[in-house]
Symmetry: C2
Subunit: 225 residues, 2 copies
């Protein structure tokens, strides 16, 4: 059942410097020794932080209660198990004989725990910036959707709607610079609007997050103009 983890790394979009970390993350506690229980503990705190920070940035007007509710939805076991299923993580798990027999590789709680452990393994292998970039890439569509379905709009959407309502055309985003090594890059993006002389700048670990920040700053400028 345990497939070569190379194809898993391709799906995750992350190559481990220390493959032992990935092995441990994929080892269920039904196997003694170096299993994923400790990594799961660490990974749980990492995913909670990464999603909290993303929501905090994405919804600058949202109340604490709304942020908590959105986060709970994104980090709950079902969502993590879904993510694990997208990576077919179950095919790579090492389970004890009992769990194997009872189909443990399909059980949601086991998949969710392993997903958290994989997140911790990436953090230990490469640090928070790389881990954050990866996790946000995995969550990109979910974060976009949760904004739409919750009625809370991200800064780029709000800026676009504001400009369309005033028939002012679309904002223009340009990458100023990309610094740092692959997976640790910092993007600087500027936002321009034809009818205004104002230019705002955003910085982020992805082009999208830098654009969101630039859009947010433009909204603040327009609100105070």
């Amino acid at each position: 059942m345990v497939k070569n983890s190379k194809t898993l790394c391709q799906k995750l979009g992350y190559e481990f410097h220390n493959p032992n970390l990935l092995d441990a993350a994929l080892t269920h506690r039904s196997i003694r020794g170096n299993n994923n229980e400790r990594l799961e503990f660490l990974g749980d705190s990492i995913i909670n932080f990464i999603i909290a920070a993303a929501l905090f940035q994405q919804f600058p007007k949202a109340k604490e209660g709304d942020l908590s509710r959105l986060r709970a939805n994104l980090v709950k076991g079902d969502t993590l198990a879904e993510l694990a299923q997208e990576f077919e993580l179950g095919n790579y798990l090492r389970l004890g004989a009992g769990e194997l027999k009872s189909g443990g590789f399909r059980r949601k709680s086991i998949l969710a725990d392993a997903m958290e452990a994989v997140i911790a393994a990436i953090y230990l292998d490469a640090g928070m910036a790389v881990c954050q970039e990866r996790v946000l890439r995995w969550y990109e569509v979910r974060l976009q959707e949760i904004g739409r379905s919750s009625g809370m709009k991200d800064p780029k959407t709000r800026l676009q709607e504001y400009l369309q309502a005033k028939k002012l055309g679309l904002p223009d985003y340009n990458v100023l610079s990309i610094q740092g090594e692959a997976h640790q890059q910092t993007f600087r993006v500027v936002c321009r609007i034809e009818k205004y002389s104002q230019v705002t700048e955003g910085v982020g670990s992805s082009r999208r997050s830098a654009e969101q920040e630039a859009a947010q700053k433009y909204l603040e400028y327009l609100e105070n103009a």
Copy 2:
């Protein structure tokens, strides 16, 4: 009641690039507008992660259940309020009239929330590495004590006890290099033991954490020797 935040920054050991972040962190939700509710949400996830990562590293043999229990103790409201009291945070809080009258600046929950908000403010001002370094410095004694009182020993203590039991003298730690700007430094430390030719290296955001890693690696060497 609200003192100049300069003296608070000295106590925290952190100077804000953007003082508005600190102002928001010190503003209770009894004041409308830019108060600390959202920062508290973010700060809660940051302190949970920082303490989880510190315990994970400090107690490489601890079970997930023990790590959870230790963390709960370190991030609970009472502990955060204690920390806030050490910084006399209550003297710097901005509270609405009602809270002021009822002595809100002394209330534990208000102090703990503000402490979490200050942690988020440092993260937003300077990034995770700086925030982590600061928080771990504040928690340094508590982390040492919790190790002793819980019967779990950190790697440096275990290495020292191992060597003393074998009458092999004390390990020798030397800083190889310190890189990066102030508050973002990376320490590389080597650990040597006179009777052995093995040298191990540890990396960390403080000298202490680099030494712990070097000690842990030496223990692993000795266990496999």
